[in-house]
Every structure is written in structure tokens, then in C-alpha cells.
């Protein structure tokens, strides 16, 4: 166990190292690029202020993700129930689109329901364990497994339909 004493440079280096994971996760919950970027920025500032609550430096990523997820939930609370049509349009087939073109994994992930996207993203893109995802999202391990199972089945259906 390594005791965390993060100065600004170390903290920043760890943030930059995890910046793609942060964006995946925020985007999976919020769908909008702009909201996801805002949430990441807020999470970085909040995490830096509270960095003394990180007691094991090797838990930096799940710790920061947990803070980010809560920022995302705050955003959801503020904006619900409106949905940005431009964001929805990103995941709908465009007019004249070639439907033989291969669906990317990320497009398939974004077509999942809101409660599945974050679990699937953290598991497949970021390699978090069931236990880590449970801690990050604040749900039980059983719930993570259930959602992962549903997400996997839906992805199989979406990707094999092509």
C-alpha cells in the first residue's frame, strides 16, 4: 500500500494519464461532448481540492472516476429531462448512410440504455474489475454483473446484426 501525498505535478500527470478514461466515462453517462468535458473539468478541480482523501495512490483512477461519476450525476439532475437533439442525432442512422458500413464498438455502446453504458465502458474500455466498477458507480457488485450481462447481450445483438 502506497500512501498518497500528491503534489500538483504528480496529480496533473496522473490526470493526463487517465484523460481518455475520464472522457469515456463522462460521455457514456452524459452523451454530450460538451457536458462530458465540463464534468471532467469540474471533477479534476474537485479531486485536487480533496486529494488528501486519497489514501492509496494506486487507487487514483477509481477514486477520480468516482468523483467524476458524481459530477455527471449532478449534471443529469440539473438538465433532466431535456435531451440535446444534436447528441441523439450522432447515434441515429443519417439519411443516405451506407448501412453496410461496420458499426463501431463505441457507436454500439452509445446505443445502449443509460444505466448500461457506464458499466460497459468501464469494463471493456478501461479494464476495471466488477468490484472497482461497483465502487465507482456506487452500486452493488450484483447490479454491475446484471448490467454487464445485459450490456454484453445487447452489444452482441447490435454488432452481429451488421
Amino acid at each position: 500500500m502506497m500512501q498518497a501525498k500528491l503534489d500538483k505535478d504528480t496529480f496533473s500527470a496522473l490526470v493526463i494519464q487517465n484523460q481518455e478514461t475520464l472522457f469515456h466515462t463522462a460521455k457514456a453517462i452524459l452523451r454530450s461532448d460538451e457536458d462530458a468535458e465540463d464534468a471532467v473539468q469540474e471533477a479534476i478541480c474537485a479531486a485536487f481540492e480533496r486529494r488528501e482523501s486519497l489514501r492509496e495512490a494506486d487507487k487514483f483512477r477509481p477514486w477520480l472516476l468516482r468523483i467524476l461519476v458524481n459530477k455527471c450525476y449532478d449534471t443529469c439532475r440539473r438538465r433532466r429531462p431535456t435531451v440535446d437533439l444534436e447528441d441523439v442525432a450522432d447515434y441515429l442512422p443519417a439519411k443516405g448512410e451506407d448501412h453496410t458500413e461496420r458499426l463501431t464498438l463505441w457507436q454500439a455502446v452509445m446505443a445502449l440504455g443509460g444505466d448500461l453504458r457506464a458499466v460497459v465502458t468501464l469494463f471493456y474500455y478501461d479494464g476495471l474489475s466488477i468490484r472497482e466498477i461497483s465502487g465507482v458507480l456506487g452500486i452493488s457488485e450484483a447490479a454491475v454483473k446484471t448490467r454487464l450481462s445485459r450490456g454484453r447481450a445487447k452489444l452482441r445483438q447490435l454488432l452481429e446484426e451488421e
Binding site: 468523483i67 443529469c76 433532466r80 431535456t82 463501431t104 464498438l105 471493456y124
Partner: protein, 280 residues
């Protein structure tokens, strides 16, 4: 390797290989955010924290209960609550050491045995929350912990009284939960959900079925609404509830219990025909 493991591997490989769209200036924004972080305040707090905490813990953890001047002033403006429920005082407990903070303000009731019973229940409940907060503070090390508890009178008619106690615990994330306390003024009894129904009535199944139906209905109507119907089995026999302005039964669920945190504390208004035949 079974079929799911193989598929997992395929998905993980695709996640690595396929390009992931990042906004054009995202990396620049992260960098600028990091560059603008202020280092000094956290360092200063870190250096002086333990002495401050020890003194504050000693001073504040023994100063219970306490009456805040603001609450006492507000008290004068609150009318007597019906004939058998009187609000006599606000009990207030606060704590702040710069890292952990708490603000607990709840009323003490009197005027009848039922009012005193509710008051005792509220006191026991908030004492439990405070004890948990204190225990967390001791094991928290250098983390942040927050506890806020406030209350509101939901109903105060000639026949019914409901007090709502709302709590928010914060530790990296916020968790909101509430408890409702009811007095049937016609009988002078403290009432829970089970007390509304006949002993042989399966109200849990009836109300659970309606909650599940409404979850599915709301999710079908609005894509931004999410619940966990697959994880919901039944309501608690003592589920939190209140009667709204129209006299309808409303079931209340704590945050995260049946829905993502983004949904807050879900409420379901139950039509009378669902449970009318089960009432006492």
C-alpha cells in the same frame, strides 16, 4: 474459454483497436485545467489539520444538544401543530473542522404521547446518524465527510400529522435519504405503512406491483428516465410514504436504491384503487 469470455476478449480488443472520438481541444482543456490548479490551500490545511480536529472533536462532540438562535427565532413563527402535536424546540448539532462538517437540526415534539414517541424516534435516528458521522470522522484520515439533516412538516391537518426528516451524507459523493413520521390524530397513534392496512392484507405485493408498473411506464415514455426494475423485488413493508395535497398515497425511495443517482429520490403516487380494498 467459454462463449462469453471469447466475446469479452473480442470487445476488449475492439475497444483498444478502434479509434475513439475525443473532442478537438479536449486534451488542451485538461492540460489548462491542471495548470490552473492552486496548490497552496490544500497544503496549508494538511499541515495544521490534526490539532484542529482534536480540539474541535472534543469541543463539539460533547455539546449536544444545542439550540441555535436562528432556530429559536424560527420557532416563534411556527404555529402550534394541531391539538396534540406541538413543536417545542429545535435540537441542533453542528460540527466543522474544515474537512468534515455536519449540520443537524430537528424538532422536538410534545403535547401528546404520540408526539413524544415521534420525537424519541427522531432523536434516536439522528443520534444514530451523528454516531456514524463521528465514527467515519475517526477512520477517515484526511478525507472529507459531510452530514446535513433538516426537517419539514409535510401534513398538519385536523386528522393527520407528518414530519419529514431529510438527510444528506457526503463523502466524495452525496447520498440523500429521508424518513417520514406520521401521527393519526383521530386515534393518537404513531403510524407506519403497515398500520394502514389490515393484518391479512398483502399490501407489499400490491404496492410493489404498481411501483414496478410505473417504473416501466415512465421509462417507456421518456428515455432520460431510468430505474432498476430488474433489481427491484418489493417495497419495504415499512416503506417511507406520505399523503400528498390530494390525499393520495405517495411512496418515497432513498437515492440509489431503485434508480441511478441522477434520478434523486424517486416518488410514486399510488392510485387508491390499487390498495383501497386492503385498508383497515
Amino acid at each position: 474459454m467459454d462463449r462469453f469470455d471469447e466475446f469479452d476478449e473480442i470487445l476488449r480488443e475492439r475497444a483498444k483497436q478502434e479509434p475513439f472520438p475525443l473532442p478537438e481541444d479536449y486534451a488542451g482543456r485538461v492540460f489548462r485545467t491542471c495548470a490552473a490548479l492552486e496548490d497552496a490551500p490544500a497544503k496549508r490545511r494538511h499541515a495544521s489539520r490534526w490539532a484542529g480536529v482534536a480540539a474541535a472533536v472534543l469541543a463539539l462532540f460533547i455539546a449536544v444538544p444545542n439550540v441555535s438562535p436562528a432556530a429559536a427565532a424560527a420557532l416563534a413563527e411556527v404555529p402550534v401543530l394541531g391539538t396534540i402535536v406541538e413543536l417545542v424546540i429545535f435540537r441542533s448539532w453542528t460540527y466543522d473542522d474544515g474537512h468534515a462538517s455536519a449540520d443537524v437540526t430537528v424538532p422536538e415534539l410534545d403535547g401528546s404521547a404520540a408526539a413524544r414517541e415521534v420525537s424519541d424516534q427522531v432523536r434516536a435516528y439522528t443520534d444514530q446518524l451523528i454516531a456514524r458521522f463521528q465514527a467515519d470522522c475517526e477512520t477517515l484520515g484526511e478525507g472529507y465527510k459531510g452530514l446535513d439533516v433538516a426537517s419539514a412538516v409535510v401534513t398538519d391537518s385536523d386528522t393527520w400529522f407528518t414530519l419529514r426528516v431529510d438527510a444528506t451524507e457526503t463523502q466524495a459523493s452525496g447520498y440523500e435519504f429521508s424518513r417520514f413520521y406520521h401521527i393519526d390524530k383521530t386515534t393518537g397513534q404513531v403510524v407506519t405503512l403497515a398500520d394502514l392496512f389490515r393484518e391479512d392484507a398483502d399490501y407489499v405485493t400490491a404496492l410493489s406491483g404498481e411501483v414496478l408498473r410505473q417504473m416501466e411506464e415512465r421509462m417507456a415514455a421518456d428515455e432520460s428516465v431510468r430505474y432498476f426494475p430488474e433489481e427491484f423485488t418489493a417495497i419495504d413493508p415499512q416503506q417511507n410514504f406520505y399523503f400528498n395535497g390530494e390525499g393520495e398515497l405517495v411512496l418515497v425511495f432513498d437515492e440509489y436504491t431503485i434508480a441511478p443517482g441522477s434520478m434523486g429520490m424517486p416518488e410514486f403516487t399510488i392510485p387508491a384503487e390499487v390498495y383501497g380494498g386492503l385498508l383497515k
